[in-house]
């Protein structure tokens, strides 16, 4: 590659990165406004929550609290105040945990990331392999059985699957712990990686149940379309076996959409994790957001909202960027 070509590529890369950054910032602003507005009009009342927790607060003290938190300021001013402290890196203290929100979010996010990551890989691999089997055997018995199974699985509610798994694998068989992300009563410094993994497997499997059936069905459709395409027909005409057509042409053409779909599925993944973490009492972001909502912990609720928005955005951005890097039609088309 010539020097100028490298310069052009670098410039293009910088331009793209700047574009993603701009989109991320505008998205966060929009999400924060929407979340703030929703909290403002909802019955969520941090003062009431504080009063309940502290107990025996007089009317004067209550008024002082309201003054301190600026509850009676106009919403726009409250938003500006909150945004200003956010820009200073100050997310506030959680009302239920009495600890800085940033610490809680960081800790919970790592737990959730491990859970979602494991389930993401499981659902992607299981879904893709199942989809390829169905596509390759299209119309045959294996395809018909697996397809019906996938249709049933994809219509099961996550929390119900979680409860069934808990009953079967944790309570009756005793293979996995009944809940939490670490053994009960153990200090977090003493918990081993193996113990964490042991706690994570069942919730991760439950979470992957939400998506692998739909991934499998999607992969099946894509593979069938590829195997009925003109280029597959021509490959057969040139003497390639069915196996070679699938391996050489089918997989090549369905891999990219499968990977990008998988990255674009972060929003369903996070949505599913809220159910799963609650069913399994898993200490992640999903259970944190439910606790924050139920207990009027506004600082924590807003912080989790922003973090999850950024998380989903990152997934979509990666899905978008992969096309530019992997697909020759985009990659080499940009050169000419």
């Amino acid at each position: 590659m010539s020097r100028t070509a490298i310069e052009i590529k670098t410039k293009l890369l910088l331009k793209k990165s700047a574009g993603y950054l701009l989109r991320a910032v505008t998205l966060l602003i929009a999400v924060s406004i929407a979340a703030f507005a929703l909290v403002s009009v909802s019955p969520v009342d941090p003062v009431q929550q504080y009063v309940l927790a502290a107990g025996g607060v007089s009317a004067e003290q209550r008024a002082e609290l309201e003054e301190y938190w600026g509850v009676n300021d106009p919403p726009v001013q409250r938003y500006v105040n909150w945004l200003a402290s956010l820009l200073h890196g100050e997310l506030g203290d959680s009302l239920i945990y009495r600890r800085p929100v940033a610490d809680i979010v960081a800790e919970r996010f790592l737990n959730s990331l491990a859970l979602m990551g494991l389930s993401w890989v499981m659902s992607g691999v299981i879904g893709f392999v199942l989809g390829c089997i169905m596509g390759a055997k299209r119309g045959k018995l294996a395809d018909r059985v697996l397809k019906k199974l996938c249709l049933v699985l994809s219509s099961l509610p996550t929390f119900w699957v979680g409860l069934i798994f808990l009953m079967v694998f944790s309570v009756q068989l005793g293979w996995f712990p009944v809940g939490f992300s670490t053994p009960i009563g153990a200090l977090s410094s003493e918990v081993t990686v193996l113990q964490r993994l042991h706690h994570m497997i069942l919730p991760a499997f439950t979470l992957s149940f939400v998506s692998f059936a739909s991934i499998a069905l999607h992969t099946r459709e894509k593979l069938i379309a590829a195997l009925e395409s003109d280029y597959a027909l021509f490959a057969r005409a040139r003497g390639e076996s069915e196996r070679s057509v699938i391996m050489r042409h089918g997989l090549r053409n369905i891999m990219l959409p499968a990977v990008t779909l998988q990255f674009a599925s972060f929003s369903e993944l996070f949505g599913g994790s809220v159910f799963v973490e609650n069913v399994f009492s898993y200490q992640g972001l999903g259970s944190a957001v439910a606790e924050a909502g139920l207990n009027s912990d506004v600082p924590l609720l807003l912080a989790v909202t922003l973090v999850s928005a950024l998380f989903v955005f990152a997934g979509n951005a990666v899905a978008d960027a992969i096309y530019g890097i992997v697909d020759p039609r985009v990659r080499e088309g940009a050169d000419g």
Binding site: H249, N253, P328
Partner: protein, 309 residues
């Protein structure tokens, strides 16, 4: 004359169509088609769009879609083309030159596709010499199909057939979208391949080009052949032709009066009883409408018409 490479007797192709909600009715798109191709000749199969010409190519190669089935007899070098046999012959003894660049894998470099699944060095070497012959530069190997120009794509597709060393080449509409020069160039390649001793079936709707490069022309109408004539006869004009449809086709050429045929080709599924061309034929009599007309020999060619002389 060379040996008979491909002989087709009474080929039928039917689609299983859902008729209403529960019943299935076969839709016959190719009916009673017979033809013979010899080594060293180019047989053009000419007819208008929608007459089932591409299906003929796919039927020979055993690549009909799942809901279609073929009947009749196909012989390759005198032996029946069973599904097992065609699977072995595809790509090695029988090659397809498809219609467009969409028949190339969009995500695979051209070189890898032309050389094929065969990873031996021989295939690559053969490709290099074939590319040189078709004036395709070495860079072409590393291009993706979307980067090919129309003419390059055409030459790449032809090169896959040339590289295979197949004795029978079936070219499915190889010229649409090309300039006249490119089309002439492409057909010259097929002529050369035939002159090397291969048999070429050239499926086309371009009667002019077929006349210039083919040895014989089979006229295709509503799913079957109505006449087989030599290219000279087509060049000689109307009076040398046998079937009223062939004559009408000849008159419809720009240099011969540009005179369209009234009416339209019947659709599969609503074919007339008797002669398929009768509804549009000026010579049609009651006899023409009473039953299917068989192919018969006439003046060194073949015709499916009782009035032809």
């Amino acid at each position: 004359m060379g040996d008979v490479i491909l002989q087709i007797n009474d080929l039928t192709v039917e689609f299983n169509m859902y008729d209403g909600r529960f019943s299935r009715a076969p839709l016959r798109v190719i009916d009673a088609l017979s033809m013979t191709v010899r080594a060293g000749e180019v047989l053009a199969v000419a007819g208008s769009s929608g007459s089932g010409k591409s299906l003929l190519a796919h039927a020979i190669l055993g690549l009909l879609p799942g809901n279609a089935s073929a009947g009749g007899e196909m012989l390759f070098k005198g032996e029946p083309l069973t599904p097992e046999r065609i699977r072995k012959l595809r790509g090695s003894e029988i090659a397809l030159v498809p219609q467009s660049v969409s028949y190339l894998d969009p995500l695979m470099r051209v070189g890898a596709q032309v050389a094929g699944a065969d990873r031996s060095g021989g295939a690559k070497l053969a490709m290099k010499s074939i590319f040189e012959r078709f004036a395709l530069s070495e860079e072409t190997e590393r291009l993706y199909p979307f980067q090919l120009s129309g003419g390059m794509a055409r030459r790449v597709l032809v090169s896959t057939a040339a590289i295979s060393g197949a004795e029978l080449i079936i070219a499915d509409e190889p010229t649409p979208g090309m300039t006249l020069e490119q089309a002439v160039e492409a057909l010259r390649v097929f002529r050369e391949l035939a002159d090397e001793g291969r048999a070429v079936v050239l499926i086309t709707h371009d009667v002019d080009l077929a006349c210039a490069f083919a040895d014989r022309i089979a006229v295709f109408y509503a799913g079957t052949t109505v006449e087989t004539a030599s290219a000279e006869e087509f060049r000689a004009g109307e009076s040398a032709l046998r079937h009223p449809y062939s004559r009408a086709l000849w008159r419809a050429l720009p240099q011969n009066g540009f005179e369209p045929i009234p009416g339209r080709q019947p659709y599969a599924g609503s074919l007339p009883d008797g002669c398929l061309f009768a509804p549009r034929c000026p010579m049609a009599t009651d006899e023409c409408r009473s039953g299917r007309i068989p192919m018969r020999e006439l003046r060194g060619g073949e015709v499916r018409c009782i009035h032809a002389t």
